[in-house]
Symmetry: D2
Subunit: 333 residues, 4 copies
């Protein structure tokens, strides 16, 4: 019974079906009929014009999304536990040609206008210090917290005031939208975000994420950067097909709701053990080594989180029976 | 009837089957059981120890393969019509942090020890000029010519003499092996090549190429570079599955033989129109605009190659009836 | 008797005097009174507004001048024997983060609208090929030829038409201006050039070149790039002092005239041996090994230029007696 | 009466004299007689073999020194207030092609084995996290504290144990040696440091720092990197001359002793106001705005250090009368 990672989850049958339907000759790269549908599909979803590029991974999505906002001599403000800082092997430094990540604080891996200002205000306006060019926030955060629409909007207002770009790492964007019951556009602060990495791989996809640019012109240079990074797959129609399958009929939302519901069920069982409120599909739970051992002995797999806690992750495909079993097992600890 | 690109070809049913068989939870990234099989699989295939990394595209495969050979201040000797020079959007400059491509001549986009020496011998051994660090050759070449094992070995001997790395862009490696009827190892000059980009996408795969390192230690740093480039897919088991399906039971070879046979049939029909011998699955054919128009009117699609020629590409899935039809149509021009 | 390089020439006494006059405490970096005079000084010299940054070397001047024009995924069209291609150790690849030099032909290392078009016109307007972002020309060229004002203007018109930046490597800009007897602005095509590397080191300076930006805003980001490249010297007042000494009272022009006159005297003696007209302070002269040996035996030092020629370079400080002696010796060969 | 920066200090007369003596034709770049003396000069000074390259600035010295130790996908552990992190405009990210600075704590901007371990021990040994490749320490630190020889040796032992390079930013190395009365080699932990940026500009030079490599082979690639960064000045003999003048007859030490003595005199006057012990030529002094105002009214110039403190810097050329005057003025506050 697997609660280790939503990356380990299965590919949704509708995604498989869409990929197989795409297996007919078409133009290579992103000149196929499916890839050309993406802009319109997301414009409908967000209710505002946008351009959309597919790429295989969240890391490349984040870095390519930041590229038009950040010069090599600039910086990106993000939380000190952000995925781009902790888990992408220095990819932003590579893609942004040496630009610097500027680390902000905030409970639950969420930044705020206050914690961002604490980073950027002390920077002298001279050529000796790296100047911030953009802000990157994670929706839902690395601790499973989801920014409220108003919180994103407030960060966006600060970004605008300071002339900074705003990027959202939406590896679990679907879970945040599902949690808040808001629209996708609201989850982006109603126009505050200029570039969104919209994740599908953790939510039923195989290997395709969408980079959504709301700022006109940004995607123009990113098309070159994507190819230059070796991410313009020649059979790109299979990436477009995955995304379309996820967006059409709101499969992305249904999957996220399933994962979130499983997380809520577990959260109720965890009670006071919870280190953070459950606002997506991840739980961070205080638990002794003996308790974790006991759960593993019952067949549950998950990651330790430091010495005294566990991380539990649900996915669209987590079996309800497994969830209920784990919830009972935790209650019984 | 499509003769535009092997990139537009279908995914082989055995590849589909292997991918679907992989759709069970396993460890993410490349810690799954399938990814761990690759080293052994290719060691058997080549008859020498090697380490193997998957990546989604030929461009990333080439650049990651070159990374351990080339310092940012060095250069890579390649043909002036090589894919890395002409068609990868400057990816080597990105992945190699500004390293320079040094362009050599040679008929049919094949370099030789002579044309390589013509590039590197005039370089002064001082700090004002970029020094070569590696050689990259394409097997089969951009004009569909396949290096003989002895030709690769001779280039390898030069590389060794000058202390240069040797990389092979094997986007159509299968076609070259099939054409020569040699072993994979012989097609690499029997140990001359240190890093091989072994292509599968054009030959029945979906989105997975193998980087094969024959030099101990090279893959260690490339594992970091692959992640840093956003090419470590979280559901990597699907990439490993594609490669295994292609290599097991020699599907790669069967597919290449089919594509080559189709190319030979067309080549016979083209006769004196052929600009280069047909040694893989690409044909470059002298043809007037009117002739091309006539063929297109009969339902054949292909790329123009300059003003007076056409490029025809066959694939594993090109239907024999289409091949025969095109052969007849060309003969009838 | 030294004719090897103008880099080996002495520092002009007026430059020494200005440096010593600058040896009083002032603000560090470029906040001193001298550095702040540069914009106005060059605006007067060129008759148009500009911003000016000092840097120690021609290589850093060229690369920093190109930085605001060229994105990492773009290219710079230059002559295939341009200094930035042949003699800067790949610095453009470093400073421009992997951007590509695109090599054009042209007699005497001069490009023209025709040879530039021959490079850029075949580039497909798609993401697979690096797109040109700028043109760089050398005034005077690597073979001592000086672009006519109209030639620069014509290249500028092409640049404008294609949306490309135009940079001039003016390591020997002074010699070109002196040769043509034109204004500095005319030597830049009367507004065609957006960024000029104005060289002083070969012309009586010690270690200071001026980067002159005629395009508003370009210098803003280059100030950061200069610091980031470690070229913002803390005692920058000594670099500013050198430039001011060279520009005030037209020392730069007087020095260039002296060097050019010496070159003309030698040119007359060389007669039919000249490989190129003498339009600056460099001569490329057909000469057998035995003849070169004979000259060296008489105490003249210079570089071989391939197997059958010599390169002779004059400088502001070349002694007239040495020039006359070499002219006679060549005539007597 | 200037106590703002040692960067604003004058150039020592012996340095001027040596530069002028170098003003005769010699081979360009670093092929001149003076540049070739440096290796031997520093081998004598340190009592161990080394290779030495000059460069104009501390920023380029630091970054070039780190280049052979740090791959683009690696990291450099340094103090979070280190000059390379705070004041070099992201130069390490540029020179090291995106490598990451990893920020350690420590009182007075000094790191220790403990604070370094606190940074590197939590890094997972997998490809998702940037791995440390080197450590960089500043001697004397950004707060004017000098590492004891045993402290450097202990950091070196940790570096060796973990396979990390060790770099020392010695912008004020002379002040540290003078303070401890140790040998230069002891100040480097008796062989612990592999590459040292030995600063002269703040200590009586004009624009020349020495990069000293104690590790055989490291300088080979840095020669290329220096040229590629535009730091190989064509009249390099003037940079070598400065360094030789500073090292011969121990001018560097005499100058540092003078600056340190001035700092000690001020330190005594500051008494309990001192935020850090005075171990070099910088003082950080608690002082109200009104007190600073009072000092400035008496003609003393210096930088504020936050809202409640001042930074005072002495130099080799600070006039004793000014020092005494400032000491008295502080005592009288």
């Amino acid at each position: 019974m697997q609660f280790m990672s939503d990356n380990a989850a299965r590919v949704h049958p509708q995604v498989w079906a869409a990929m197989q339907a795409a297996d007919a000759p078409d133009s290579p790269y992103d000149n196929d009929a499916l890839s050309r549908r993406l802009d319109g599909l997301f414009a409908d979803l967000f209710g505002r014009p946008c351009t959309v590029l597919w790429t295989a991974t969240g890391t490349s999505a984040n870095c390519l999304a930041l590229a038009p906002m950040v010069q090599p001599h600039g910086g990106v403000v993000c939380h000190r536990e952000a995925h781009i800082e902790m888990d992408e092997a220095g990819a932003p430094g590579f893609y942004l040609h040496g630009a610097k990540l500027m680390l902000a604080d905030g409970a639950g891996a969420k930044v705020s206008p206050e914690t961002i200002r604490a980073v950027i205000d002390p920077i002298r306006d001279d050529v000796h210090q790296v100047q911030p060019h953009a802000i990157s926030i994670t929706q839902a955060s690395e601790y499973g917290l989801s920014y409220r629409p108003a919180e994103v909007a407030a960060i966006g207002a600060l970004a605008k005031e300071r002339g900074l770009g705003l990027h959202m790492d939406g590896a679990r964007f679907a879970n945040a939208v599902a949690f808040h019951g808001c629209t996708p556009d609201e989850a982006c602060g109603s126009g505050a975000v200029q570039a969104l990495s919209f994740g599908f791989v953790k939510n039923g996809g195989m290997g395709s994420e969408a980079i959504v640019f709301f700022e006109p012109g940004m995607s123009d240079m990113v098309r070159y950067r994507r190819k230059r990074a070796g991410h313009l797959q020649s059979k790109g129609r299979f990436l477009a097909a995955q995304i379309i399958a996820m967006v059409e009929n709101d499969l992305w939302l249904a999957n996220a709701r399933a994962a979130n519901a499983a997380a809520q069920e577990l959260g109720t069982a965890c009670g006071g053990r919870l280190m953070y409120p459950v606002e997506a599909n991840e739980l961070f739970v205080t638990m002794t080594a003996a308790e974790r051992e006991a759960l593993r002995a019952q067949g549950f797999s998950f990651y330790d989180w430091g010495a005294d806690a566990a991380r539990l992750v649900t996915a669209w495909s987590t079996e309800p029976a497994h969830v209920t079993a784990l919830a009972r097992a935790i209650s019984a600890l």
